[in-house]
């Protein structure tokens, strides 16, 4: 508070104290008004303009300006002025940033607290106050002479400093708000992109579901080996025929034709389904893959990478089929004679892969094994009678630890040049 001059009378001194008090109250009111006005705004330009207008009213000046410059103090970013003509405004813009540079605002973290008019600014500017908003922006507020024609005093500078501090807080809030808004906008864009991607993914998922459904239906008709190969490598040449070691099993229901005549087509169908269902269990449990079906017969491949394993799996499947057939025969005594399933198994090298049949009306692909081994397996299945399981030496030797086979001797098989020794699995 201003000190009462000693040379004045008590009454005059009292008036002076009262005036000073009123001025302080007015300053407080000003501070309240400015804070209320500025902190309700988030637009940078509006805050600067409003601050300028209020400052003009607070200090009672006809002229005032405010500008902000970039951190290097070489470019004006915002400029507002009241009461200056165009020529003066140009001068203020030109010298404002330079003035900030001389204040060292552009190189120090915080501006000095108070400044008088600067020599490089027009003489109409009676008071300036520099400020720093952040690392990228500094500013300068300048006031023309007071209407009262009094000089700016220390308390005017203090008030301006306090108001500018509030301004800086409001501007920083505005910048933060802008950053948040910008982040929000980016987030919104990303959300829209995500939503679009989600829709695309959902569409893709629907396509996959359709494809899965198609696959599930096709798998009923396509060997599992082929399905797996295509799944693993849809475009590779893995389907091309190649020679490898495998076991091939042929299975045939004895007297199928007689059975058809005896019980009729529908009943045969039911019987075949009933028996074949348990055959499939036995085959799939032992990693077999049904390549072909033909009425009463099946061709099944066992393709383990281990030679002994696929032979064992084939004979285990054959033994299980025989055992299950006997069980069903016991449980279903409707047939005049029990059903017999004859099985022939051969292990060794064979060609396996896709075969393509071209014709003018289209092409048909099939995946199967072929070669002498396959023919031998088919022939020994033909030779099997009464539900026996027959195999060649190669197979019998690979499974001998688990399954006892007995040689039946060497036989000439149709379309096979060399005689083949045939073994029969002893009944278990």
């Amino acid at each position: 508070m201003n000190r009462v001059p000693a040379d004045k009378g008590p009454e005059e001194g009292e008036d002076s104290v009262k005036a000073a008090l009123e001025k302080r109250v007015y300053y407080l009111r000003t501070l309240y008004d400015i804070s209320k006005e500025l902190f309700g705004k988030v637009d940078f330009d509006v805050i600067l303009k409003n601050f300028l207008l209020m400052t003009m009213g607070n200090f009672g000046v006809f002229q005032c300006f405010i500008l902000t410059c970039n951190g290097a103090c070489d470019r004006v970013m915002h400029f507002f002025s009241i009461g200056f003509d165009e020529e003066m405004e140009t001068e203020l813009k030109a010298h404002g940033c330079r003035s900030l540079a001389t204040h060292a605002v552009c190189t120090t973290e915080t501006p000095s607290s108070e400044h008088s008019a600067q020599p490089d600014l027009p003489p109409d500017v009676a008071l300036t106050f520099p400020f720093r908003i952040d690392d990228d922006q500094v500013g300068l507020v300048g006031l023309g002479p007071k209407l009262t024609e009094e000089p700016f005093r220390i308390h005017d500078r203090e008030l301006l400093g306090t108001l500018v501090n509030n301004l800086v807080v409001a501007l920083r809030n505005a910048l933060s708000f802008e950053q948040i808004s910008s982040l929000n906008r980016e987030l919104q864009v990303k959300n829209e992109e995500l939503e679009k991607t989600l829709h695309e993914l959902q569409a893709a998922l629907r396509k996959v579901e359709i494809l899965e459904s198609i696959k599930a239906n096709l798998c009923k008709f396509v060997p599992a080996t082929v399905t797996n190969m295509i799944e693993r490598s849809p475009t590779s040449e893995s389907l091309d025929a190649s020679e490898r070691d495998l076991s091939v099993m042929f299975l045939d229901i004895e007297g199928y034709s007689r059975l058809t005549e005896e019980v009729g087509g529908t009943e045969v169908n039911n019987l075949v389904e009933k028996y074949f269902s348990v055959f499939m269990d036995a085959i799939y449990t032992n990693n077999g893959d049904v390549m072909e079906t033909a009425g009463d017969g099946l061709m099944v491949l066992f393709l383990s990478d281990d030679d002994k394993t696929h032979a064992l799996e084939a004979i285990r499947a054959a033994a299980a089929i025989r055992s299950q057939t006997n069980r069903i025969n016991r449980e279903s005594p409707t047939l005049s004679r029990p059903l017999a399933v004859n099985i022939g198994v051969a292990s060794g090298e064979a060609y396996i892969g896709a075969l393509k049949f071209e014709s003018p009306t289209g092409s048909r692909w099939t995946y199967t094994a072929h070669g002498t081994l396959v023919n031998i397996a088919a022939r020994i299945c033909d030779k099997a009678k009464g539900g026996s399981i027959m195999a060649i030496r190669n197979t019998a030797e690979r499974v001998t630890e688990e399954f006892p086979f007995a040689s039946l001797g060497r036989f000439h098989l149709k379309n096979i040049s060399d005689d083949v020794e045939i073994f029969e699995l002893k009944p278990g």
């Binding site: 007015y26 207008l53 009213g57 607070n58 009672g60 006809f62 009241i82 209407l147």
Partner: protein
């Protein structure tokens, strides 16, 4: 705080009275400037701003009055102000408005003083 401003213009002899109602804030600019712009600046050189004693001026309201005074100075108009509360009489004095406008207790006193001023441009302010 009152929000809406009305400005009524009356002519009493050579004096144009702008009767201003409502608090003077940023929102008042259009009403007050609009009222002042209706004055014939070539002919009407004596203007009385008549307020309501209960009204409030904030910083931007003071700025509006200061800008109006600046305009009046350009047009060589004499401005009188009346019906201010004691507080705002002091504020007007503090910010220097009284350098460009005289404050009177009543409209009658103000009109009489404006009428009595011999010619435009004569020392008018306090």
């Amino acid at each position: 705080m009152k929000e809406d401003n009305t400005v009524r213009i009356e002519r009493q002899g050579r004096v144009t009275v702008l009767n201003i109602r409502g608090d003077v804030t940023r929102r008042s600019e259009a009403a007050i400037k609009g009222g002042y712009d209706q004055v014939d600046h070539e002919k009407e050189k004596k203007i009385l701003l008549q307020f309501d004693k209960a009204i409030y001026f904030n910083s931007e309201g003071l700025k509006i009055i200061i800008l109006l005074l600046a305009e009046a100075r350009k047009h060589q108009q004499e401005i009188a102000v009346t019906d201010l509360s004691d507080h705002f009489r002091k504020v007007f004095r503090m910010v220097g408005i009284t350098k460009f406008a005289r404050i009177f207790d009543s409209a009658g006193d103000a009109i009489a003083a404006l009428e009595a001023a011999k010619k435009t441009g004569e020392q008018w302010t306090e």
